[in-house]
């Protein structure tokens, strides 16, 4: 099946390129069955993942409210977004605060805990993996934080702090703009051991043992050196995968602030880019404007991913 270019006459670069095209076409014709296998997935994938991105970019240059056909208005949506929409700027700030804290911290914690867990005996490792992974798959278990952080004296945190005399009046954790964002960050960190964490746990078990033995002979003396010189470089593929996953979860914060701080929240203190998008898309049906928000979010995520990939390439070298 593996076709090679061997046996073709040597030619100049240009004609080789042309040759390559024809060659690919011949190959494609021969491997029709591959495309047949790919077809069902490719159609659905294009319809629900590629097409939306493309149309989203298109809609972002139009005024569109579903009832009337889209009307082209150029960059007006983007101009409004930056110059007129103060709530959007709040949302951008909040999203960045959340993403900058929960993204890297969640990512590093996922790796560190996966690494620590890896040293445990097998039965304990299983329990630990379940305990750490459970919050991220527990549906809307974050709802329970609205009881813990309830604003009256019956709220658990409030009454706990009052019993110890640390505060004398209950704090409105979820209504006071000062506290909303930190509370949300704590909850998101609690949920941050997701798919990336599982990938790390599995990857650590697959690191070649003989590398550690070789490192031991070569004079690696403690666990941190071992981590930096052996474990991290062999884990690079998993680290990249985990980075993609943590970027996705760090930027797409929506359900947690909506469930805890209300929608809309006090002073828009918990407004994120995605809740803003939700507001314009599904409450006001200004699809063009919402698409502009989605496009901005999408571009930011792609850029972040590229930056992290560039950073991870240097690890352990």
């Amino acid at each position: 099946m593996q076709s090679t270019a061997a046996g073709r006459p040597k030619t100049s670069y240009l004609s080789m390129k042309k040759d390559n095209l024809r060659y690919s076409w011949e190959k494609a014709k021969r491997m029709k069955v591959c495309y047949l296998f790919l077809l069902p997935y490719a159609i659905l994938f294009c319809a629900f993942f590629i097409l939306p991105i493309v149309t989203s970019i298109y809609y972002s240059f139009t005024y569109y409210n579903i009832l009337e056909p889209p009307r082209f208005i150029g960059f007006q949506n983007y101009i409004n977004l930056v110059l007129q929409d103060e709530v959007f700027l709040t949302a951008v700030r909040n999203t960045f605060v959340i993403a900058v804290i929960t993204g890297p911290v969640g990512y590093i914690l996922s790796f560190l805990f996966a690494w620590f867990i890896n040293e445990l005996p097998r039965w304990l490792r299983t329990i630990a993996v379940v305990l750490f992974y459970a919050p991220s798959i527990a549906g809307n278990a974050y709802y329970i934080f609205s009881i813990i952080f309830r604003g009256d004296a019956y709220g658990y945190l409030n009454s706990f702090l009052m019993q110890f005399g640390l505060i004398d009046a209950p704090i409105l954790w979820l209504l006071d703009p000062k506290y909303i964002l930190p509370v949300i960050i704590v909850v998101i960190l609690w949920m941050s051991m997701g798919t990336g964490f599982l990938s790390f746990v599995a990857g650590l078990q697959g690191v070649d043992r003989s590398l550690y033995e070789a490192g031991y002979v070569d004079g690696i003396r403690n666990r941190w050196q071992e981590l930096y010189y052996i474990t991290l470089p062999s884990m690079k593929p998993m680290l990249l995968f985990g980075a993609v996953m943590s970027i996705t979860s760090a930027f797409n914060v929506c359900d947690v602030p909506r469930a805890l701080a209300g929608y809309p929240s006090t002073d828009y203190a918990a407004r994120t880019i995605v809740t803003h998008l939700f507001d314009y898309g599904f409450s006001r049906f200004e699809m063009g404007y919402a698409s502009a928000i989605a496009t901005v979010l999408f571009l930011v995520m792609i850029l972040c991913n590229k930056a992290i990939q560039a950073m991870l390439r240097r690890v352990g070298t």
């Binding site: 099946m1 593996q2 690919s24 591959c34 296998f37 997935y41 659905l44 994938f45 629900f48 590629i50 939306p52 991105i53 989203s56 805990f113 620590f116 867990i117 445990l120 993996v129 379940v130 750490f132 459970a134 919050p135 798959i137 527990a138 549906g139 809307n140 278990a141 709802y143 329970i144 813990i148 658990y156 009454s159 706990f160 609690w190 599982l198 990938s199 599995a202 697959g206 033995e213 002979v217 003396r221 403690n222 666990r223 071992e226 593929p237 990249l240 995968f241 993609v244 970027i247 996705t248 797409n252 939700f278 898309g281 599904f282 989605a294 979010l297 999408f298 995520m301 792609i302 991913n305």
Partner: protein, 396 residues
């Protein structure tokens, strides 16, 4: 670096086989003379005796303290007799017993947790610190989940108790039965929501596994023009959340007339990138020779896919089944479903949850019901999932 103790492992100068075996063992990190073998059985018996003695002391101190308190109370009430002042001795005994129990318990745990042979480059204090930290973090991670379960079992007066307690004193299932009553009052029965969710989960997962595996098979095992590009697009799509694609999808669905049908949830789930990604990475590790051999024997592509490749990647399809089930089970799909009788279970439950402070107990019950399914599935299948995730890495 030079301050640390360094073990120099030199190859033996003699040709003695035993020396060389010992040298190999040392390279593997085994130092027989430094690691006396732990007799687990004896250690457990000794621990049991020590803990039993301490527990007896604790119980004795507690009983005596209660007696003294009762006696003192009687003295204070009748006004006759002397006050017993020996209470402080027993308090000291109690505190000491608790302290010793904690210390010994921790020591026993650490000793039992020691791997059979100590790995090189691991210090005892480092291990100890990591165990303590892991234990603390694990408690913090588990607390909200335990707390939801505890809250769902509390009667009303304990939910609003001051000062509140974490664990219920009178366990009751009232919240769950109230939940069923509340659900029964809406004009769609509870069973209907459950059927909707089960239908969506089942169809969505089945289609996803078949379609994604077929695509993953050719992407992993055949080199054809466009395949690599397609896969790199899929990897980028791992980052597209339902929110970014939500609006155009909504418009697209409404053009197709699929708003307010199950297909609006199921069709996008068929093409979830994570399933294709994991499947492809796992299939890549299958030996190509296996497929070539089948080719020579005259099997067609579909035959190879169905009876050779698929049976060999069972952990992978179990994994993507579980991810898909988790995803579909937790989906409220509130933007594409409007009719009451088509709502998913989670959507209906979230509406109850949003009912405010009066429904605190029921909301906790909802949380427990929703979280139990994915967590149970994960516990049952975690070894297969981890096996698949081992090949989840992204090569750049």
């Amino acid at each position: 670096m030079s301050k640390q103790k360094v073990r120099h492992i030199e190859p033996p100068k003699t040709n003695d086989r035993a020396d060389w075996l010992k040298y190999q063992a040392m390279l593997r990190g085994e130092f027989p003379e430094e690691q006396p073998k732990l007799n687990v059985k004896r250690f457990l018996i000794i621990s049991l005796i020590v803990l039993a003695v301490l527990a007896a002391a604790l119980i004795f101190a507690n009983v005596r303290l209660a007696q003294i308190e009762e006696y003192n109370l009687a003295v204070a009430q009748s006004g006759t007799g002397e006050v017993d002042t020996s209470a402080s001795t027993f308090i000291v005994i109690r505190v000491a017993a608790i302290f010793l129990m904690a210390v010994y318990g921790f020591y026993a745990l650490i000793t039992l947790l020691q791997p059979k042979r100590r790995k090189p480059n691991r210090s005892f204090w480092g291990d100890l610190g990591i165990y303590i930290m892991l234990a603390l973090v694990a408690v913090a991670m588990a607390f909200p989940l335990v707390f939801s379960i505890a809250s769902s079992l509390k009667p009303l007066d304990e939910l609003f108790r001051f000062p509140p307690r974490v664990f219920p004193q009178h366990v009751t299932l009232d919240n769950f039965s109230d939940l069923i009553t509340t659900m029964g009052q809406s004009f769609v029965p509870f069973l209907r929501y459950l059927t909707n969710t089960v239908f969506i989960t089942f169809v969505g997962t089945f289609g996803h596994v078949v379609i994604a595996s077929m695509a993953a098979f050719v992407l992993a095992k055949y080199d054809f023009p466009g395949g690599k590009t397609f896969f790199s697009i899929v990897v980028t799509a791992l980052m597209f959340s339902g929110y970014v694609t939500g609006i155009p999808n909504y418009v697209f669905m409404s053009k197709l007339g699929m708003i307010d049908t199950y297909w609006a949830i199921i069709l996008p789930a068929f093409a979830a990138p994570i399933g294709l990604f994991l499947m492809k990475q796992t299939m890549e590790s299958l030996p190509t020779a296996l497929i070539e051999a089948a080719h020579i024997d005259g099997a067609g592509e579909f035959r190879i896919f169905w009876s050779i490749v698929m049976p060999n990647v069972k952990p992978a399809w179990l994994t993507i089944i579980i991810f898909s089930v988790q995803n579909l089970w937790n989906t409220p799909a509130s933007t594409v479903i409007y009719s009451e009788n088509k709502k998913t279970l989670v959507y209906a439950l979230q509406q109850i949850q949003a009912g405010g402070i009066a429904r605190t107990g029921q909301a906790a019950a909802v949380t427990v019901i929703v979280m139990l399914v994915p967590i149970t599935i994960f516990i049952l299948s975690q070894s297969q999932i981890l096996e698949t995730m081992a090949s989840s890495g992204l090569k750049d």
